[in-house]
């Protein structure tokens, strides 16, 4: 992206932010909803951890690292790339046709459609949970571990973005595919925050190879906490989760570009 393009992105984002600020109560509530949605994950995890003795052989401080990683990755996704989640609706409303007429990449225009106020709440709670998880952790947080954690968060963000980009690409051809996006969000929210070895092997396999949800936070947390050999997949595969996130995102962007070239719109 050129310097000029970056300047335009910054100015559009600043304008979007001001537009969100126009309705102050709504602005504050949007921050709240981001936070509340994330708190629901914490509530569920806390209830389960307090009622059941650990999960899948993980103690509670290790388990906490999974939702912390996932939520931080999700918060960054919402902030930087999250509008892909709304692409389906924009496709249904025919806004893609308008985007195609403008001298800016369609993907970038989708990302600049509005400012994601709820990301502020998402990231605040996620950062709080990460601080809590790290303070309860008995692990020795060396530079290597910290670097891997940062890479895992970024990889998780890219993997989530890749999944939603694929759904949006499908939406260009089949607008009803938007429905899958909401299901994906639900699955990530529900099953992305726990050790998946608590599930039967076939179900864990589906969430690894069918829908690569395990790579978002479970595998990186397993590697960091010493559970990397009990995940049911080769250790190197679990450890390469951040890299897979990057590759998946690059692949998804290629699929998006191909789908956009074959987009025909409502009138053919």
């Amino acid at each position: 992206m050129s310097l000029r393009a970056l300047r335009i992105v910054w100015r559009v984002t600043a304008l979007n932010f001001r537009a969100q600020m126009e309705y102050r109560t709504e602005f504050l509530l949007m921050i709240a909803i981001g936070a509340i949605w994330q708190v629901s994950v914490i509530v569920f995890a806390t209830v389960l951890l307090s009622r059941f003795a650990g999960m899948g052989g993980w103690d509670s401080s290790d388990v906490l690292l999974i939702p912390a990683t996932r939520m931080l990755a999700h918060g960054l996704f919402v902030l930087f790339l999250g509008r892909m989640h709304w692409a389906g609706r924009q496709i249904q409303e025919g806004r893609i046709d308008i985007y195609l007429m403008r001298p800016m990449p369609v993907h970038r225009q989708i990302q600049l459609a509005f400012f994601p106020t709820n990301a502020i709440g998402d990231l605040t709670v996620a950062a709080g949970l990460m601080v809590g998880a790290l303070s309860r952790s008995d692990l020795d947080w060396t530079a290597g571990r910290i670097s891997y954690l940062v890479a895992a968060v970024l990889g998780g963000m890219l993997l989530e973005a890749a999944l939603f980009t694929l759904v949006a690409s499908a939406g260009l051809r089949f607008p009803a595919a938007d429905y899958w996006g909401r299901w994906l969000e639900e699955l990530l929210g529900t099953f992305g925050s726990y050790p998946l070895n608590v599930l039967p092997r076939a179900v864990g396999g589906f969430l690894t190879y069918g829908l690569p949800l395990a790579f978002v936070a479970y595998f990186p947390a397993a590697v960091l906490t010493g559970h990397g050999h009990t995940t049911g997949v080769p250790y190197w595969l679990a450890a390469s989760a951040p890299l897979l996130g990057l590759l998946a995102y690059l692949g998804a962007r290629l699929v998006w570009r191909w789908s956009l070239r074959h987009y025909t719109g409502i009138n053919g």
Partner: protein, 267 residues
């Protein structure tokens, strides 16, 4: 109003769904996967634990799976049909609800009835399959089944009014997506969708007893799995009925006040 007219309004959403086979396929697949995942999760959690919070493994699994099936009752993609109150308020088209020969409150009720009946078909089909596959336990007795059916009916009635209050909120606020999401979250959390309320701390259970949300889902499911004994059923059913009456009166008042706020574009 003639029955054929009511039927036409009630079938709008089901017809919309039936005309979108990809969405129906997605619903079936999503429901199946969600049931398998929830079933697996709760069995896995109980692998090293006996009875917790008064719920055995089979009770907890049955509760969680039935909660997934019950969520189908009011989870239609009205947004895709551009017929939510929020959208009508945003685009200024709510005024048309007041220009038809059909009063808006009746149109809303008929649409909701159609949706819930359509959702019931999905939930019942899922229930029969789960029962046959041994995923959920059958009710303890015929009396439990009867009380559960009655409680579910009252629960759905309460849920209708709760969702109606959320929609009516749109008449008073211009941008209320966040408020709607927050209330929706409260509904899910306090009705026991995320996890049975029995697992939560005592203060949480006490607080939710004073709110209408648990009457929508937690009460019927707790009666089904036997966490609420039949001896308490009469009290629980009367609480549900009381919520129906209170919310019916409240929403009636809101409809009247909302009508005064509706203006056509430009005033």
């Amino acid at each position: 109003m003639a029955a054929p007219h009511a039927w036409r309004a009630a079938r709008v959403t089901p017809l919309g769904e039936l005309n979108a086979p990809p969405r129906m396929t997605a619903v079936a697949l999503r429901l199946a996967v969600q049931v398998v995942l929830v079933w697996s999760l709760w069995r896995g959690l109980y692998a090293q634990t006996g009875t917790t919070a008064g719920l055995s493994r089979d009770q907890a699994v049955t509760y969680a799976v039935l909660a997934v099936l019950a969520s189908r009752l009011r989870e239609l993609d009205q947004y895709a049909g551009r017929d939510t109150v929020l959208q009508h308020m945003h685009f200024g088209t709510i005024v048309y609800w007041y220009l038809r020969p059909l009063p808006p409150q009746r149109y809303y009720a008929l649409r909701a009835a159609g949706e819930q009946l359509y959702g019931l078909a999905w939930a019942l089909t899922g229930y029969v399959i789960c029962l046959a596959a041994g995923v959920v336990e059958p009710p303890g007795s015929a009396a439990v089944a009867g009380v559960f059916a009655l409680s579910t009916l009252l629960g759905q009635w309460v849920l209708y009014y709760v969702m109606l209050v959320l929609d009516q909120l749109c008449f008073w606020t211009i941008r209320n997506t966040a408020a709607m999401l927050i209330l929706l979250f409260a509904q899910n959390l306090l009705s026991g969708v995320y996890a049975p309320l029995w697992f939560f701390p005592d203060w949480f259970v006490t607080m939710s007893a004073f709110l209408p949300f648990q009457a929508t889902l937690s009460v019927p499911l707790s009666l089904y799995v036997g966490r609420i004994p039949l001896s308490d059923a009469a009290f629980q059913l009367s609480v549900q009925a009381a919520w129906v009456v209170v919310l019916a009166l409240f929403t009636r008042l809101l409809w009247r006040r909302a009508a005064r706020r509706v203006i056509s574009q430009g005033g």
